[in-house]
């Protein structure tokens, strides 16, 4: 079970952005994740959706990056939501109750409409 490569792809859409988190956000990826999300915050999009459909793994370090990112977006007035978590990632979000903190939707389209 070697970790899958982890990538973050930013897709500008209308006046917002869909950010695709792909692979395993494993132990050594938290710093990369923080740095890769920094330009999303600096770009001042009207809204941002993190697409988790292809995120296969995340630990508490990665969750901490998401929480810090959410708070940063909140401070600039940019709505942030999560979309499409797999069952396993959804379970982690529910176990930690982060789905109560960060709006979470089944699909990117629902997140864009809901956000």
């Amino acid at each position: 079970m070697a970790p899958l490569p982890f990538t973050i792809n930013i897709e500008p859409r209308d006046n917002g952005a869909v950010v695709h988190l792909v692979g395993d956000a494993s132990l050594v990826q938290a710093d990369f994740m923080r740095e890769a999300l920094r330009p999303v915050r600096e770009q001042r999009y009207a809204w941002v959706v993190l697409n988790l459909a292809e995120l296969m793994f995340i630990n508490s370090l990665g969750l901490g990056v998401l929480v810090a990112f959410y708070k940063g977006m909140l401070s600039t007035g940019t709505p942030l939501s999560l979309a499409g978590p797999t069952d396993r990632i959804d379970e982690v979000l529910q176990t930690t109750r982060l789905n109560d903190l960060i709006p979470t939707f089944a699909t990117v389209d629902q997140a864009i409409q809901g956000g």
Binding site: M1, S26, L27, V28, N59, R88, T95, T96
Partner: protein
Amino acid sequence: MRPSIDQKLVLESRLDDVSRAEEAILRAAEGFDFSEGALFAIKLALEEALANAVKHGNACDPSKRVTVEFDVNEERLRVSIEDEGPGFNPEHVPDPTLDENLAKPNGRGVMLIRAYMDEVSFNPSGNRVTMSKWCRGRPSDSESDA
């Protein structure tokens, strides 16, 4: 019956070093009948415990080591992870799922270990965690299901 595997690894206090231990343990577990969900749980608990040992226990001090011992057989995987730090009292870790703690970026590791493993214990000084995952659920769970 497949032979059990047991191993002891002594690692430097670096995340990339302890990641190799994680991969070795998961490779060993994959040789048995753990479900995908159980392997996910083991991976998550390992990452939480290893990150705690490196970052909090040893404070990333390169002179300190993380000792990992594991054994896996057809019934269960058991892992102990020990650091050289002063230890902590796991009962004093704030509940990260309380409303007032939800927006804190840290403090979810111990809770996730407990949530995803079947058995978790700490030594009295709090610098070693031992955790187990049963291949087909805890024996007591099966008995209560019967």
